[in-house]
Symmetry: C2
Subunit: 378 residues, 2 copies
């Protein structure tokens, strides 16, 4: 499969990188000097780790698309023949030469996926979408005033993966019918759809009481952070009756919890009751964790299959968590030219019928310009 990508920032590049990690030939086209995201932070030695991550495994072509000759070259590249070709992914403004109608004249079965901010084409980015969706008012410490932005651009990430779905679905349709198509999706619609699927929209419409801000408690069940004797933080959860039993057994606090249930008139096998009694449960659990080291907590919890995990900083993640190193087959230590060597993810999907595609670094900007111009006779 061959995809031509004209993109910036996260959602479209992540969609392309996801398909590249599955073996697709993804050709990202930028203006000479790079697009608006070429220097996006985080940086190392002045170079963008962000760009390097989001463009892994692609080919990079630079062409001046402000003038007609460059536009014609890119249009020919997008619509070049070949069964797996004729797929165009973009999140940049589309009009004239790179519109679906114009490109379709060059290849009738073109598949074109366009990501916009809002459905009407107006601008929106992850941070404006998140602001509108209500999450910043319910995230962060209880009693916090105002809003808490997320650091993880979650809507970008979800849209990126959905783009891969969209391309595969359109390619399936083309294979079955010969027909190409335009697929459009917007960052805000993705956010709204997810908020809908998770019940936030129905809740806001039907329930009189607005969703509160509950700090680090996991809403409607039992889960929160605790601090160990050696000042490490752990998240402890009991989402199911089995997990609650595990927690009771691991801590040996069954008598205390039974007394608490009797006192509060609750039954902690019910998740709603764990939620109602969350503060009192935490008041029993925090002292238990506080007198134990992380290692001791881990041993007890793991022995009883408690659902828990340590919090780690990014530095601790790469230093201490084997899942974030090449001990995990997801990662290979890749040398990124001009940056250095670090664990670089391949596809998190493991297909038994296909060899894993080893993770490759991002290209240098324009690295494949000559090669692609020759290959497609542009």
């Amino acid at each position: 499969m061959r995809i031509v990508e004209i993109s910036a920032f996260i959602a479209a590049p992540l969609g392309g990188a996801t398909l590249a990690a599955m073996g697709a030939d993804v050709i990202r086209v930028d203006p000479p000097g790079g697009g608006v995201d070429i220097g996006r932070w985080p940086l190392h030695r002045g170079r963008s780790l962000y760009w390097a991550g989001l463009n892994q495994g692609k080919r990079s072509v630079t062409i001046d698309m402000r003038q007609q000759p460059g536009q014609q070259k890119v249009a020919r590249l997008i619509t070049a023949p070949g069964e797996g070709g004729g797929i165009f992914l973009t999140n940049l403004p589309v009009s004239g030469w790179n519109s679906y109608d114009e490109l379709k004249k060059l290849r009738r079965d073109l598949i074109m996926v366009v990501i916009t901010g809002n459905r009407d084409g107006s601008a929106a980015v992850d941070y404006t979408v998140n602001a509108a969706l209500g999450f910043p008012f319910v995230t962060g410490p209880e009693g916090q005033e105002g809003v808490v932005n997320h650091v993880l651009p979650a809507w970008d990430g979800m849209t990126g993966f959905l783009v891969a779905t969209a391309i595969l679905a359109a390619e399936r349709h083309r294979r079955l019918t010969g027909e190409g198509q335009l697929v459009e999706l917007s960052l805000s619609d993705v956010g709204l759809a997810v908020a809908g699927h998770m019940g936030f929209i129905g809740e806001a419409v039907l329930e009189d009481e607005p969703r509160g801000r509950f700090g680090n408690h996991v809403y409607g069940t039992f889960g929160r952070d605790f601090v160990t004797r050696d000042d490490r933080r752990v998240v402890v959860l009991a989402l199911t009756p089995r997990q609650w039993r595990s927690l009771v057994e691991a801590t040996g606090l069954s008598g205390e919890f039974r007394n608490l249930e009797a006192r509060l008139g609750l039954y902690f096998n019910n998740e709603g009751d764990r939620w109602r009694g969350r503060q009192e449960i935490c008041d029993l659990l925090q002292p238990w964790v506080a007198v134990r080291s992380l290692a001791s907590v881990a041993a007890s919890f793991d022995a009883h299959k408690v659902l828990w995990g340590p919090y780690r900083t990014f530095k601790e993640l790469v230093a201490d968590d084997p899942r974030a190193t090449s001990a995990n087959p997801l990662f290979v230590d890749v040398d990124h030219p001009g940056l250095g060597t670090y664990p670089t993810p391949g596809s998190p999907m493991r297909f038994s019928a296909a060899e894993a595609v080893p993770p490759r670094p991002a290209p240098t900007l324009g690295e494949h310009t000559d090669e692609v111009i020759r290959e497609f006779d542009l």
Copy 2:
């Protein structure tokens, strides 16, 4: 396409709901009385809005899978003939009768997608994955002690969409070769891959200085929340030079920003310099916003194409934002039996070659048991 889903919570059900919203026949199989997520909060009148959202448009079958006759029925359903059938999605423990090897005996070209917590099959959920990935230490107000959990289960959402990608990719392979396969992915690998693509892992390995906690500032560029005269909050961003110019023009603060650039020795067309001067930029911008109403801010910003948006609570979202109502073709007001009527999303992907599938409510538990048993002669 027909998918049999044995699932709980978010990632697998969202994957199924995503494909159902594209027209797939998704049959969710639960034990009588429902799985562990049947009563998951948020609730309305004691019923789960969460379950209703994550199972939209599916068929629901209840079968006791603890005993062999039920297991055989479900195995026959999963492996029933038909070109688009033979697709099994699960995030529950797999062994014996519902293992890939056993099911493959009944249908050689079976596609089976298995989501686990960790790659090795051990337990992990969104909240433990997020704890390990570093984000809780950099989210939340500057100066905040400890960790800030996210409320949006972002890793679940991303994994859900990636499941749709995985199924379509495996189905493509089957159509091309006749071969089925097992596809495995884990929540923690998805999280790690995304953290890698966004540069967090490279940064943690290569940079001496750990990523700090920067409150609501968008890292490495300009973006933050501001409070209007009428006590509304807005997020204002300038990710590109064009957006920075828009902001300067909309506020009429070009002289002030020029003086600030001279004083600090920065040049705000560079995103890195906007980041370095973020506090001083905010100190100029906050008074400008603070003397204006939301309506007045909106008028100025929109006239100059500033990248911005209002924060909304979930209640304000459904009351004030037309994007979250049936004015947006994404949504239809659907009556959910036992819950009520509220805007219900269809697929955020718009395919020009296919009619949109109208959003349908989730089934009642077991609603299609008899129908499916008859249809597949189980």
